[in-house]
Symmetry: C2
Subunit: 198 residues, 2 copies
DNA sequence: ACCTGAACACCGTTCAAGT
DNA sequence: ACCTGAACACCGTTCAAGT
């Protein structure tokens, strides 16, 4: 049912997902979809849950909470980057679905066991998800034609020394390493908070 | 020129921004817009830059780098939440515009002065922006009708103890405090990294 | 140079009609 | 119950024609 929309979105992008196109992919005559789905919003929600379903179940806890948090965040990132054209869904659709509750429960338990309060574990989870999704969005965005690119060659090195300095690094820049930098840094911040709570 | 599109988007949302509606708002006959703007994508880019232009200039450095980084991040968040219906633009449009280069340069200088390497300052900036934008997206998303809401009352407390525990906290949950939690924690992580570089 | 009307190839959704 | 055709009120964009 949703599989057709999912496949279409993955092949041709989210903007290609129309009631007409999806119906056509199903060999059916367009308006019939409304008997199986509420409308287009519900259709996209279905696709969203389908993607979320690809998140692997939480592994049995065998390591430190730090490593476990990293594993969950990297798994989510992997799912997102595995379906680059569907990433915008995660920035548009409501985040909480029944499908995701098991993952949420596990993540909260992880953070509580690390020593965070109930409130802090909620904050930390929301922040982690916002970061992973936000960073995935920015990663995927790179694929676009950067027509706005200000033409780096014309950049005034005297006015923008730091930017100029970074342009040399840009070709070898590793966006996955960038993600791990953010994740590790945030986890280090959590550690410090646990050592000296205020 | 772009002001009309900006006003329309702010009043009625991004999906109301069509060439026809914008032209109508200008008292002109629709297809005339193509003489002033490349197409719809360019129009949205223009609106994007217009919003970015509202970011206040970096204040003269008078405090610690920690406070300066917080101020920049909170300023960006304030601009985003000041135009809730335009936030999705930041998840769709290319991030680097000439308009934003001054801000980028300042932020990089800030992070370098704190002691980060060139590469680390790039990572940190990208991560901070991804977090601020990602979190703003999630903040704004709350305004939507959460039709997917799984009906918390039917939730199995035995199966989801941590989630159940949090539902009680939810009514009094402060999303701004959540943002500051993330920001403070990330900055604390940066501090630790500076103390013991590896 | 700038604006326009008509047209093309699309949208989501409603609704009455079919089987 | 499920599917359909026609219709409504929209889209972005092209293009030849006007001033």
């Amino acid at each position: 049912v949703f599989q057709a929309a999912f496949g279409l979105a993955q092949r041709e992008g989210l903007e290609a997902v129309s009631m007409r196109r999806v119906a056509q992919a199903l060999g059916v005559e367009a308006m019939s979809l409304y008997h199986h789905v509420e409308g287009k919003a519900a259709l996209l929600d279905g696709v969203f849950e389908l993607v979320l379903g690809k998140l692997p179940p939480a592994p049995r806890r065998t390591t430190s909470w730090q490593r476990a948090v990293k594993e969950r965040a990297e798994s989510l990132r992997a799912v997102l980057l595995g379906h680059p054209r569907l990433v915008p869904l995660f920035a548009t659709r409501p985040a909480v679905t029944l499908e995701s509750l098991r993952h949420v429960e596990h993540a909260l338990e992880l953070l509580r066991a690390a020593g965070l309060s109930a409130r802090a574990s909620l904050d930390a989870l929301q922040v982690l998800v916002a970061f992973v999704v936000g960073h995935a969005v920015s990663t995927v965005r790179e694929g676009e034609a950067d027509r706005t690119a200000p033409g780096y060659e014309t950049l005034d090195a005297a006015q923008f020394p730091r930017v100029t300095e970074l342009i040399a690094l840009l070709p070898s820049h590793d966006v996955d390493a960038e993600f791990r930098f953010g994740l590790d840094t945030f986890i280090a911040g959590l550690e410090r908070r646990l050592e000296s709570p205020r």
